[in-house]
């Protein structure tokens, strides 16, 4: 062995030594690295096959992620059995861990979605796929899950894994939205139909407005017709009054003719007064100022009174008037407003006389018992000109009179029947007419039949007593307080026979002064409507120093308030102007016969 060979072999040994040391260091490093946890997996050769074992520590982050994530994570075996699931899925499905492991995932799926899930699962064994299914939870809620299935590599627990997202909230929102969409649609439909209805209502109310307008025009027309008619009706008696007065003034006439003229003037005046009274009655009815004064009233007597009252007029027209008594006398006393029943009857009879020239006027009454509350029915029948069918209702309207242009020429302004209607309705009854044009008419009205036992009835008295003078104690000293001269003259004329002295005052101050000077005055006729100091105030001042003198207030106003006020201020009685001799006489008897 040469030196060179020795050196060479030594070198080789050194090199080998070096290499071995290196390998040793490597092995040591490997062990250290494993010990220090710097290694994640170990490769093991087994039967010529390398198997990689990942260390638990290396998987920790994934496990943490999988357990913490907000999605459910499940792995299924090839048979569809759940072999693993995370906490989140347990929470979602609300079934305990022990129970869910080993069960079939398809058991959780709702019946309708099972087929869909089977398809998803079959695909999920070999490739990624996703789809939505519904599951039933442990507390029997239906939840919507979006599933993402992916196949797992072999050698791992399970064959497919599922990531399940709960989209129930989204789904519910979606359903809510679609529901609210539906309700919105519904509301739109409802609103539309409401609008349509409103439109229809509008068009109806429009029609009503047109009808109302026509009615207003009609009532306007009636008013104008009424005014024209009225002015004619007032003018006629006025012409008579003025004309005959003129005649009386200018010519020296025989007494007989004078008397005739005076009668004509009187009649004209009465007619005017009637018109005005009717107007006042009607306006009171319409203003609701009239009261119903119920009292015991014998119907039979009222009808007889009407009979007696109109008999002369009927006789004059060579006609007849007949009463039909439909009740035994003991049943004819009822509780009602006597004055109004009389007014109704007299208006109807007046009309019957006015509109007929022949035959009989029949007045009657009977009881209708078939209704719940028994009613008394009155009728007034005539054989006159009758009323056309189409006017049977409108004749009761204010201002309405059957067109008179070629049928009749009768006085009247068409107020009578509307007064009748107003009174009947106030008494709680109704009024109607039956007629055949040209063959007479029958007017009916009803009032409630409230029977009373008392038969004591005041007989209406508008009778002129010729014996007044005899009945009162003495001739009276009278003061007439009146600012209108003609009115004062008329009053003086009326009381002339009962007076020993008549004084005049044209205002309240004068009246007070005269009375102070004449304490022996018996009667004051006090006008209410005077300038400066009215009748109420004057009376009050008189009463301060004279409590005995009889004061009768007079007013053209027929309102109850005037009556009340005058009595309050100290008057003894109240009368409506113009003064009626008969009524005044009654008063005089009342106040001055007692004293004597």
């Amino acid at each position: 062995m040469t030196m060179q060979t020795i050196i060479k072999s030594e070198k080789r040994l050194l090199h080998k030594n070096e290499e071995l040391r290196h390998r040793l260091k490597e092995a040591e490093d490997t062990l250290n690295a494993i010990r220090n946890g710097e290694v994640d997996s170990i490769v093991v050769s087994h039967n010529g096959n390398d198997k990689i074992f990942t260390l638990v520590s290396a998987e920790t982050p994934y496990r943490v992620i999988v357990e913490q994530m907000n999605e459910g994570a499940i792995t299924l075996s090839a048979e569809g059995v759940i072999v693993y699931c995370n906490q989140r899925f347990l929470k979602l499905i609300a079934i305990p861990h022990k129970k869910i492991l080993g069960s079939y995932f398809s058991d959780l799926v709702v019946e309708e979605d099972k087929a869909k899930f089977r398809i998803l699962f079959q695909h999920g064994l070999t490739r990624k796929i996703d789809g939505m299914i519904r599951c039933i939870t442990g507390d029997v809620q239906t939840i919507y899950l979006n599933l993402l299935l992916s196949p797992l590599p072999p050698e791992i627990l399970g064959d497919t894994c599922i990531v399940a997202s709960d989209i129930s909230k989204l789904k519910h929102k979606e359903e809510e939205l679609s529901r609210s969409n539906e309700t919105l649609e519904q509301r739109v439909i409802e609103r539309t139909s409401k609008l349509t209805r409103a439109l229809e209502e509008l068009s109806i109310s429009n029609e009503n407005l047109i009808v109302a307008k026509l009615k207003a025009e009609e009532s306007d027309r009636q008013k104008s017709a009424f005014l024209a008619n009225m002015s004619h009706e007032i003018r006629t008696p006025m012409n008579a009054i003025l004309g005959f007065t003129e005649l009386l003034k200018k010519h020296q006439l025989p007494v007989e003719r004078q008397q005739r003229y005076i009668t004509m003037i009187e009649k004209g005046g009465e007619r005017l007064l009637n018109i005005i009274n009717d107007l006042i009655d009607l306006s009171k009815i319409e203003a609701g100022q009239l009261k119903v004064n119920l009292e015991s009233c014998n119907i039979k007597e009222q009808v007889e009174y009407i009979y007696t009252f109109f008999k002369p007029e009927v006789d004059q027209k060579k006609m007849e008037i007949i009463i039909h008594k439909g009740l035994p006398e003991k049943d004819t006393t009822i509780l009602t407003d006597r004055e109004k029943v009389l007014a109704i009857l007299s208006n109807l009879v007046k009309n019957a006389i006015k509109y007929s020239d022949k035959g009989a006027i029949e007045i009657g009454y009977y009881i209708k018992r078939d209704s719940i509350t028994p009613e008394m029915i009155f009728f007034v029948k005539d054989a006159g000109i009758g009323i056309p069918q189409e006017n049977l209702e409108s004749i009761f309207n204010r201002f309405e009179q059957v067109d008179n242009s070629h049928v009749r020429h009768c006085e009247g302004v068409g107020l009578g029947l509307s007064i009748v209607k107003g009174y009947v309705e106030m008494l709680g009854g109704k009024v109607w007419a039956e007629s055949e044009f040209g063959n007479g008419s029958t007017f009916y009205f009803t009032i409630p039949y409230n029977r009373t036992e008392s038969g004591e009835i005041k007989i209406p008295s508008d009778i002129v007593s010729a014996e007044v003078t005899a009945k009162i104690r003495k001739k009276l000293k009278i003061l007439i307080v009146e600012d209108d001269e003609s009115s004062a003259m008329l009053q003086a004329e009326i009381v002339e026979k009962q007076s020993r002295e008549v004084m005049f005052a044209v205002n309240g101050y004068m009246a007070v002064s005269i009375l102070k000077k004449n304490p022996d005055t018996d009667l004051v006729l006090m006008d209410i409507n005077m300038p400066f100091m009215n009748g109420f105030e004057t009376t009050r001042q008189i009463r301060v120093f004279n409590k005995d003198v009889i004061i009768i207030a007079q007013s053209v106003h027929v309102f109850d308030s005037d009556r009340e006020k005058s009595l309050e201020s100290g008057c003894d009685a109240f009368m409506v102007k113009p003064l009626k001799r008969a009524l005044l006489n009654e008063m005089l008897i009342k106040y001055f016969s007692k004293k004597g």
Partner: protein
């Protein structure tokens, strides 16, 4: 002719003793694998700038590549060139040991 020259030059560089061919075996994105990739990249940039080639192999994806390389664990770095073949195991956080494995000297004073 130019292409031939370039190829020649490449071959020269790659086969020169200064050129390093490295292979890092990892298992997916396990913590030490991720760390190892980051560490070795940093070391290579610092010590072998421009003269190295790093090949990262995921054993999960290509388990068969472990065969014949005598891989025992992951991560493992293998210096395939220049010879001799060397292995470094772990997450490559110990730079000194890595440099020793690569037959490189640490930069002194740093």
């Amino acid at each position: 002719m130019k292409a031939t020259t370039l190829k020649f030059e490449e071959n020269t560089i790659e086969s020169s003793r200064d050129y390093y061919r490295l292979r890092l075996f990892v298992t997916g994105s396990t913590p030490n694998s991720v760390r190892a990739i980051a560490n070795i990249k940093k070391i290579c940039e610092e010590y072998l700038n421009g003269r190295y080639e790093l090949d990262v192999v995921d054993l999960y994806e290509k388990p068969n590549l472990a065969k014949g390389e005598q891989i025992m664990a992951a991560p493992t770095l293998i210096k395939k060139h220049p010879l001799p073949l060397r292995r470094v195991i772990g997450n490559m956080s110990n730079t000194e040991r890595v440099l020793f494995g690569l037959d490189l000297k640490p930069k002194s004073g740093i």
